[in-house]
């Protein structure tokens, strides 16, 4: 590394023995940060000075107790921690959600053989518990990942800059990232429910829950949205008609829902800034 200018040797020596005026020392210090050659020259010039003694002493001390190396603060670790902080990430919750999904898959695989539906009905030929349940799991995941009623650290979270909508969106993304691939995969295994059929309602109901969550508590929003989904999907089955939302993807319904809900969340983002007044002293 060659530079046009270097600190003259006498100046460097004077600095090394700490016998240089303040102002000149500033120039030397400003230059040293940018010049490896002068740093090396300074190290040579300082042999035998008190500074060199300190350098030697600290080197010896550190040789004795340098701790084991740790993983650096990576973006991956950050997301991992933010995910683990979600109460919904608790092992028991995850296990319950996983079990529901597995049970739904098992039911799907046996609808036609185990007499879960009458031959000739729509459900017998096309029905899928995974398609029915997957959106519910997503909104449950969102409701379980954020809020004073579920997060023991909500007060500290609520006073931090990343708390509020940002954290909620990070966690929502993580919930979707976990549930969506799983349901798609299971849908392929059983052959019931096309990928679009599981994807659109899931996204639609999740954004709708967030939008409603800007008005009422998130858990209530999730309950309302989930209940509505069940009612609209299951009611036709009881009277043996073809359920509108389950029979085909219906982008004409879901795309506007997703767009309008997302816009609502954006417009009402301030409502996530402060904690709901749930608790008091």
């Amino acid at each position: 590394m060659s530079r046009q200018w270097h600190v003259p040797a006498p100046t460097l020596v004077a600095y090394a023995v700490e016998d240089l005026s303040d102002v000149d020392s500033w120039s030397v210090e400003a230059h040293l940060v940018a010049c490896a050659d002068c740093r090396a020259a300074l190290t040579r010039a300082s042999a035998g000075t008190p500074a060199a003694a300190t350098v030697g002493l600290v080197h010896e001390r550190m040789a004795l107790d340098l701790p084991a190396q740790r993983a650096p603060a990576s973006r991956l670790r950050q997301f991992f921690l933010l995910l683990r902080g979600a109460p919904g990430a608790r092992a028991s919750w995850l296990l319950a959600l996983g079990l529901v999904l597995v049970a739904a898959t098992a039911l799907d695989a046996t609808i036609a053989t185990a007499g879960l539906a009458d031959r000739g009905t729509w459900w017998f030929d096309h029905g899928s518990y995974v398609v029915l349940v997957a959106p519910l799991l997503q909104i449950a995941g969102v409701a379980l990942s954020y809020g004073p009623w579920i997060d023991p650290c909500h007060e500290m979270t609520g006073s931090s800059p990343l708390g509020g909508l940002r954290l909620l969106l990070i966690r929502t993304a993580l919930v979707l990232a976990a549930v969506v691939p799983a349901t798609l995969l299971l849908g392929m295994v059983t052959g019931r429910g096309t990928p679009v059929l599981t994807l659109l309602p899931g996204l639609g109901l999740t954004t709708l829950t967030l939008a409603l969550g800007s008005v009422v508590q998130l858990r209530h929003a999730a309950l309302a949205v989930g209940g509505a989904w069940l009612a609209v999907s299951v009611a036709p089955l009881l009277v043996d008609s073809v359920p509108y939302l389950l029979a085909s993807p219906r982008p004409a319904v879901w795309v506007p829902v997703i767009v309008l809900s997302s816009a609502t969340v954006l417009l009402r983002r301030r409502s996530f800034t402060y904690a709901p007044q749930l608790v008091r002293s």
Partner: protein
């Protein structure tokens, strides 16, 4: 300009006022916030921590009136808060927990590891950094709570009952830490342990039923004490005297 300034701050809960028209300010130093149970200390701390929004009045923190989303966010980066009910994730290690809050407080990536280590060392938990929280005693958990509060080197630090669960020796250590933090920050400590205030605070504020009763130095509070009121120590006598006098007039 004081770090925290409130003008006519009011907070109501279900129509019942908890804080009533409080006008106070806090600058650099350690401020003890005293008051009987139900005086509104915790509610006030929550508002200062920007967890709850005041019903009316203005609250200015670090020069920002907290009106814009952007201003609020930058103020929150410079806040530290230990709530009275300190919740934690039992399966996290001390380091993971403090790091979690470093991320939430948007500590720059390149500083996260060193700032986390530093916060843990400052509360004296360096040797327990890799232990899970569920294995720690109550006093240690409080210190973890303090570590997460100071991890971003906050300019306004709010500690609600930080000495609850600490043994006498730990309380001594904590006072030293408080004095240290208060040298160049605004530290507000809400407590019912009046002795802590006398030992570690540079200023005392006493509130009752959501209103200000007294603001001054610990010495001024002591000087206000009548000898014939109950209380084991001069500060307690001062506290009781001032509170009684206030209640007699309202």
């Amino acid at each position: 300009m004081p770090q925290v300034d409130m003008q006519g701050l009011t907070f109501g809960y279900r129509g019942r006022p908890v804080i009533e028209g409080l006008t106070l300010s806090f600058g650099t130093g350690v401020h003890g916030l005293l008051g009987p149970n139900g005086a509104g200390k915790t509610t006030l701390m929550r508002m200062l921590a920007t967890v709850n929004r005041p019903s009316s009045g203005t609250l200015t923190v670090l020069g920002d009136p907290l009106r814009s989303e952007h201003g609020l966010r930058s103020v929150r980066r410079r806040l530290g808060y230990l709530p009275q009910t300190f919740g934690f994730y039992p399966r996290f290690t001390v380091r993971e927990f403090v790091e979690y809050f470093a991320w939430l407080k948007e500590v720059p990536r390149e500083l996260v590891n060193s700032d986390v280590d530093r916060a843990i060392e400052r509360v004296g938990l360096g040797d327990r950094a890799d232990d899970r929280l569920k294995t720690l005693s109550g006093g240690m958990l409080r210190r973890v709570g303090i570590a997460q509060a100071i991890v971003n080197d906050p300019e306004v630090l709010l500690l609600d009952e930080p000495t609850a669960g600490l043994d006498p020796e730990q309380r001594m250590d904590f006072r030293v830490l408080l004095r240290d933090l208060g040298q160049d920050n605004c530290v507000i400590v809400s407590t019912h342990l009046i002795e802590d205030v006398a030992a570690a605070c540079t200023a005392v504020t006493l509130i009752d039923r959501g209103r200000r009763v007294f603001q001054g130095t610990p010495d001024q509070l002591i000087a206000a004490g009548d000898t014939d009121v109950g209380g084991d120590t001069p500060v307690e006598r001062g506290y009781t005297t001032v509170l009684r006098a206030y209640r007699a007039t309202t």
